[in-house]
């Protein structure tokens, strides 16, 4: 088991390194550079030249990359090109806010979607099931920013004014100190991921409910509740764990769009602005963080699958 973990972690580091190369190349491929992007309308030739000098943009591409990766290895993510502030300082609060948002969204989404999946499986082919399936398909098809705008219209501006439309945290205020600002962004994420998890849960649950051992358990006279929660769900949950982990991993990136819609002070607006400014250190750091979450979630999903599957559990020893 520990051998497996170490091997997967090593592969993860390799993946992250490859991603850093790709992101670096992608930022370089953007037209213009940090100097022109930062100066905008004021980009007269002499001001551009001065800023390029200041930002070391005249160094070779290889040396720029080596400088950056050298910093990462020694635990420094460099300085933002736009603000000359250390990236770690710029992002630390934002990372906390984003993690909190993802955490709240998962704590709601995972139990909710598993319960929903089970319930739909039990109501299979009845009206509730059809309605549930249609709604979840529609939600799955909608981009998350559309869901977000819909929630704003409904709950913040036009119909009801229950929650703030925009997550205006005061500087230094953390998301968990002002939960009202987290409600709508978290609800958007929940609505975005729940369809996937609940549909897979419904599918595998139906399969399990049709299996012989469930019939056997029912014939044995066990209560329906015991049949479902003790016998069926533990076997049906494996695919749902995989999908849930993938959805959590997706959230690490999907949070960017949702945060932008709500101006939520997480990593999302920082990434959008970083790209607009061609701010390599900021873009690299945010993407690496999201990628690291992705790699970790996949690892966690595999471990969880092993732990709940007796066959794999014993084989992995």
């Amino acid at each position: 088991m520990s051998k497996l973990i170490w091997r997967r972690l090593a592969l993860g580091v390799l993946t992250l390194w490859l991603i850093s190369l790709i992101v670096f190349a992608a930022v370089l491929a953007l037209p213009g550079d940090a100097a022109t992007a930062i100066l905008g309308k004021e980009a007269t030739p002499d001001r551009v030249a001065a800023l390029r000098d200041q930002l070391n943009l005249n160094d070779s591409v290889v040396s720029q990359y080596l400088q950056w990766i050298g910093g990462v290895v020694t635990g420094s993510f460099g300085e933002s090109a736009a603000t000359q502030q250390p990236v770690s300082e710029l992002l630390s609060e934002r990372v906390g806010n984003s993690l909190f948002l993802v955490l709240i969204a998962s704590l709601v989404a995972i139990p909710l979607s598993i319960a929903l999946g089970v319930w739909l499986a039990m109501k299979r082919d009845r009206p509730a099931d059809h309605i549930g399936s249609t709604v979840s398909l529609v939600l799955a098809a909608l981009p998350e920013f559309v869901i977000g705008i819909g929630l704003v219209l409904l709950f913040a501006t036009s119909v009801f004014q229950w929650f703030p439309a925009v997550s205006l945290l005061a500087p230094g205020e953390r998301a968990w100190e002002a939960p009202k600002y987290v409600v709508l962004p978290a609800a958007t994420l929940v609505l975005a991921v729940t369809p996937y998890i609940s549909r897979i849960m419904r599918g595998s649950m139906i399969e399990v409910l049709e299996s012989e051992y469930v019939t056997m358990a029912r014939l044995k006279g066990l209560s329906e509740r015991t049949v479902i929660w003790r016998h069926a769900v533990p076997n049906a949950i494996v695919p749902a764990i995989q999908v849930a982990a993938l959805q959590l991993a997706w959230m690490a990136g999907g949070v960017v769009v949702v945060e932008f819609v709500f101006s939520y002070p997480g990593i999302g607006p920082a990434l959008v602005e970083g790209v607009a400014n061609h701010d390599m250190p900021v873009v690299q750091t945010v993407v690496m963080l999201a990628a690291a979450v992705y790699v970790l979630m996949n690892l966690v999903a595999d471990l969880a699958t092993i732990l709940v599957t007796p066959k794999l559990r014993t084989a992995a020893r």
Binding site: L30, D33, T36, A37, A43, A156, T157, P164, L168, F260
Partner: protein
């Protein structure tokens, strides 16, 4: 303070109105998409909407906390008096600092702020600035001649020129002289009667000799409390502000909104009291909300097409004139600005006393355009128009122009690039592109973009006769004579220039009905010069 959202819930009438608003489409769905929207369904500019114009709003009371949603902003925000670049910076500068003088919001005169007078000596090459008595910095220190000299030197610093260096680069920095505690003599490299307007810009603020942008001190109506780049900045009322009774509110919070939709939603949801630059496409939505007001002000802001007069095909004046005749200006105003603007005549600075308003208004004339192109041997011309989403409506204007050009048999290929490319290596060198400019007086604008030494001469306009006229005008102290010279210069631009100036766009403030003090302005800045000192809660 009660939460306005809860009041909403308790008031059934309001709720019903809100619901009705929602059903009638009072929604904000993303920005952009103004093409073809609201054809004739508008006020055609001017004040008002959603109620009566603000000046009739009643008496203002002292006190209250004002929250303002500002356009854009991000990690590179600055609170430095001399480095404002984006809207949020500019708003902070107007409220925290003051320059010697500034054009009033209606652009009718240069109002003295820190200065008591700015007067030319014998020729407009040497100027004397006399400071007002009793103007103090937020730390209590009175403004002196030393502070003025320090501020001008800081702006001009050749190693690190600030934003204002482009406007007053001709000031002889070494010859700045303190005459007494409240008098400074300023010598220019050449005679320039337009100097008071050049120095009277918000970015040429006066700061104390020990100025530290980390703990910024100015003479403005609000004093610094906190600043977080990309999020918000807080200010408190400066009790010893020189203008009696101002500001009205006790505290001011300026909040960044990189996204137009989020800014409008924050206003609709009551999270901010006022926003600037409401996109014209969202005007109807905000107007239909009974708790909000909008004020659409005509301005002198222009977003021209720029033709390089030294490059084919625009090196032929007939092609330039043909392109100016292609534009259906009225249609542009309707389609691009949703009617929130007015047509222009290929000339800028409409509020300058010397503006040549007697030149005939140019109208679309496709036959004449075709004939000019034929004379120039450019029938069936095909050109690339480079555009980027750097200002509201610019990309849409490019698309409408391409459509209109078809009528004259001209094929305009719109090449939309991102702002990084637009401001990249080809910036100020594009053959045919676009730009955006604020309201200015004529000579200040010429200095920015129409002389060989101008930092932004995007049309590469370098006509010796024009340059000569401008030099004459700068040296001329007699207003009447100067106006004659400037009329001739404008006639040259009207007949040969490289700008297509199709309209002047309006600027729209949107605010809570609880606020008053908004007056229609011409300066092109939100809330009239961003002066939140004039805004207060209704008594």
């Amino acid at each position: 303070m009660t939460d306005p959202r809860l009041e909403w819930l308790d008031d059934p009438v309001t709720r019903r109105q809100v619901l009705r608003g929602a059903l009638s489409g009072a929604v904000v769905l993303g920005a952009g998409g103004v093409l073809g929207a609201c054809g004739g369904d508008d006020d055609g500019g001017g004040g008002g909407g959603g109620g009566t114009p603000a000046e009739s709003g009643g008496k203002l009371k002292t006190g209250g906390a004002l929250r303002v949603g500002a356009t854009g902003g991000g990690a590179k925000d600055s609170i430095d008096a001399h480095r404002p670049t984006v809207d949020t910076d500019i708003m902070r500068c107007w409220n925290l600092y003051e320059s010697l003088a500034v054009r009033t919001p209606d652009f009718s005169e240069l109002q003295m702020l820190v200065a008591e007078s700015i007067e030319a000596e014998k020729s407009p090459k040497t100027w004397t600035v006399r400071l007002k008595e009793g103007v103090t910095f937020h730390n209590g220190k009175p403004v002196t001649a030393d502070d003025v000299i320090f501020s001008l030197r800081r702006i001009l610093d050749p190693k690190d020129p600030k934003v204002g260096a482009a406007s007053i680069g001709y000031v002889e920095e070494k010859k700045l002289k303190k005459m007494d505690e409240r008098t400074v003599r300023i010598t220019l490299e050449f005679a320039n009667a337009g100097f008071p307007d050049d120095v009277g810009q918000y970015f040429n603020a006066i700061v104390p000799t020990d100025y530290d942008p980390k703990n910024p001190v100015g003479t403005g109506p609000f004093q610094y409390k906190s600043f977080t780049a990309g999020q918000q900045s807080e200010f408190t009322k400066y009790a010893d502000y020189w203008e009696e009774g101002k500001p009205y509110v006790d505290s001011l919070t300026i909040i960044d909104f990189p996204d137009d939709t989020a800014r409008t939603n924050a206003l609709l949801g009551g999270q901010v009291d006022v926003i600037d630059n409401l996109p014209a496409a969202q005007l109807q939505n905000v107007k239909s909300n009974p708790n909000l007001r909008v004020l659409s002000s005509k301005t002198g802001a222009w977003q021209p097409f720029t033709m390089r007069v030294d490059q084919a095909p625009f090196d032929d004046v007939r092609v330039r004139q043909a392109f100016r005749l292609i534009v259906d200006r009225e249609q542009m105003v309707q389609q691009v600005l949703s009617g929130q603007g007015r047509i222009a005549n290929d000339l800028y600075a409409p509020y300058d006393p010397a503006y040549a308003d007697d030149l005939p208004q140019r109208q679309q004339d496709l036959e004449q355009a075709k004939s000019l192109l034929k004379q120039a041997g450019r029938e069936g011309l095909s050109v690339e128009l480079v555009t980027a989403p750097v200002f509201q409506g610019i990309v849409e204007a490019a698309q409408v122009f391409a459509q209109q050009a078809k009528g004259a048999g001209v094929n305009v290929k719109v090449r939309k690039v991102d702002s990084g490319t637009f401001y990249g290596d080809n910036y100020l060198k594009w053959t045919f592109a676009q730009d955006f400019w604020a309201t200015r007086v004529y000579l200040s604008q010429v200095a920015q973009g129409d002389l060989p030494e101008s930092p932004f001469n995007e049309t590469h306009w370098e006509d010796p006769k024009f340059i000569d006229l401008i030099q004459q005008a700068r040296a001329e102290v007699d207003e009447g004579k100067r106006a004659d010279i400037l009329h001739e210069a404008q006639t040259m631009q009207y007949e040969q220039g490289g700008y297509i100036i199709q309209y002047f766009s309006n600027i729209i403030d949107a605010y809570s009905a609880k606020l008053g003090g908004f007056v229609e302005a011409k300066c092109g800045f939100p809330f009239g010069n961003y002066w939140l000192k004039n805004i207060g809660f209704l008594a």
